[in-house]
Symmetry: C2
């Protein structure tokens, strides 16, 4: 079924052949010396990717599970937290905080707009009693293609001095710099089916020393997601519960590929892909959901008014076997989202742009044939 498929959604993302092959090995025992070696290798790779010497713990869970672990391990019922909400995932973290009886204050921006760092500064500066325990930010909003200004918001958190900064880096890690140590990020959660270039099933949480101090007194109940257990076991290169060993094989291979390419090159590639797509969309006179200034390097959301977004998607799928994502919640049917995260690069961008151009032309979008590819090509020439 997937024989003809080119998957350009913001996750699951394309998986390199050698990663698929690594994953298809026969499983090994998770209490073996071989697994300990594997665990040590991937942990070192994860620290490299996160630019940190902090613990980076590996969970059998989706990104949401990783984010839940990142939040509940360091807080207690009634704790006051600020949660940035400008898309589906920010809203999800606010709901999650409510489910765990935290006192959540949301800082919102319309879907498609970035969070305003000044809104955080205001709340944090007013908090002279230091009752704010954590600030929770979705770095790249997968639902809208907007990247939030984590660096600036984090500076305000650091000026506060007490609150922890907790980051959903699910579609930013491996796409744009998330320098955990340089920025002093306390909790950074991510998932395997994004920049990591492996199938879904693993969640990751990087935890700072400051966060571990908060863990010592945090009172939310936990067992499967008790990160203290994962930390103790990770020190012995093992895991508290059975890990998905085949996804670990895949992860080892994908981290090898990433290290071979280099972080700067990976980030440049993502930036280039995003710019190629935006240049093409501009050439077709289609509106983007978000402004270029806050464009995510992982996903671009197009909000067409002259053609039907769902027709674009279905024709693209039917005619070319290319899958792009639709809108979520109230944006369902109103946008389509092109993922350019992970293994996807210049070739895939030229492919999806050429195919989209064909489909848009068929659907009656007034455009000059070749204009999208031409615009993308110019980006490519000036950035390679």
């Amino acid at each position: 079924m997937a024989d003809r498929s080119l998957l350009l959604i913001p996750g699951p993302t394309l998986v390199p052949e050698s990663v698929l092959q690594a994953m298809a090995q026969h499983p090994i025992g998770h209490r073996s010396g071989e697994f300990s070696t594997l665990m040590a290798e991937v942990t070192a790779g994860l620290q490299w990717l996160h630019q940190t010497t902090n613990d980076v713990l590996i969970l059998t869970a989706s990104g949401t599970g990783a984010m839940e672990a990142g939040i509940i391990n360091f807080l207690s019922p009634g704790d006051r937290v600020l949660c940035g909400c400008n898309g589906k995932f920010g809203e999800r973290w606010a709901e999650l905080c409510q489910a765990f009886q935290l006192q959540v204050e949301t800082i919102t921006a319309p879907w498609g707009q970035p969070l305003n760092p000044d809104d955080f500064a205001e709340k944090l500066q007013a908090d002279t009693d230091k009752t704010i325990k954590a600030v929770i930010i979705t770095h790249s909003e997968t639902s809208t293609g907007v990247i939030n200004d984590l660096a600036t918001i984090n500076r305000h958190v650091k000026a506060h001095g007490q609150a922890l900064i907790m980051v959903d880096a699910v579609t930013s890690l491996g796409a744009t710099p998330v320098p955990v140590d340089d920025w002093g990020l306390d909790v950074v959660a991510s998932g395997s089916q994004k920049g990591y270039m492996i199938p879904p099933g693993l969640g990751f949480v990087a935890v700072s020393e400051r966060a571990w101090q908060a863990y010592a007194t945090a009172k939310l109940p936990k067992f499967y997601f008790d990160l203290g257990q994962y930390r103790r076991d990770a020190a012995k290169h093992t895991t508290p519960f059975t890990p998905p060993v085949n996804l670990f094989f895949a992860l080892r291979r994908s981290l090898e590929l990433m290290q071979k390419e280099g972080l700067e090159q990976i980030f440049a590639r993502h930036d280039r892909s995003a710019r190629m797509v935006r240049a093409a969309v501009a050439a077709w006179n289609l509106p983007l959901l978000g402004a270029a200034a806050s464009a995510s390097p992982a996903v671009t959301a197009v909000a067409p008014t002259t053609v039907d977004a769902e027709k674009v998607r279905s024709l693209l799928k039917k005619q070319f076997g290319i899958a792009v994502a639709g809108g979520q919640d109230h944006l369902k049917g109103k946008i389509f989202r092109i993922g350019h995260l992970g293994f996807a690069g210049e070739r895939e961008m030229l492919t999806v742009i050429a195919a989209l151009e064909t489909v848009l032309h068929q659907l009656g979008q007034p455009l000059t044939p070749g204009s999208g590819v031409g615009a993308a090509l110019q980006v490519l020439e000036t950035t390679l």
Copy 2:
């Protein structure tokens, strides 16, 4: 590394080649029509395996995560629960219940012995106020190779009339009958790397209507493991959070293989494998950890006194590439455990028995060469 490996531990278990190949396909989008079809197919297969029309929900988690979900969704802080403890996993569920502030009463038996159903009957009959909300049982204790008498314990629970029966079926499902509807089991948790014959990474929870009634008033906080969300989405053939699509591919294929073999044949094969191993161990004059009457169909624990269990394991691994498991917690170094769960069958049993016989002979165990294989062969002839 795994080229020469024959994995005969009680999970991860052997994975058929066609399942590995199914898993190694390129991922598909989890919000696609293709995924919905896949989800509907595997859900139907799971219901067949559980012999139920209840919901069988699929989580991205290990078996422990599935068990946590199975417990926390139906209970509230302070609820009184009975937890059977006769091995590492029973003890784990008691710890988990304590972490979630349940009022846990353990019913214990020594590691290697089965739980005594009368102990449950006594507690349940004495509970005339019906304060016991749930009885939690590990069906097959993976740590000791003992199967608990779930049918009888469950009858006592049914006589109580109020308590839910929650079952860790991690190494019993797909190895021995777990007739969910016939027995009226309320919560049944399992994990993919066992009888399912696929790598670790998926957890499963079957939930009865009675359990859903308890869900409506249960007050433990939850989000990632909120089974109500999974149920609502499963009705639309989707999942609340990104599922590990490649493991779903593997699951579809393994369920196909299982349905082709048939439940009765699968159970007979596991029983035969277990008997072959026990017959060989008896022929070598080695003691089993547990009595034959409560022998798990999934794993056999051998407790040698005349040879060093760890030396047996390491020689078996070094000389033949066969991995068997060691003991856990206080049984570390004192036992070795042969997994005969999932894809392993007569051929693998003859292999491991022949290899073990060689290794034991080398280590000075007084045995007649050929006696183990001979005994296994007789079981095979009388049961095939």
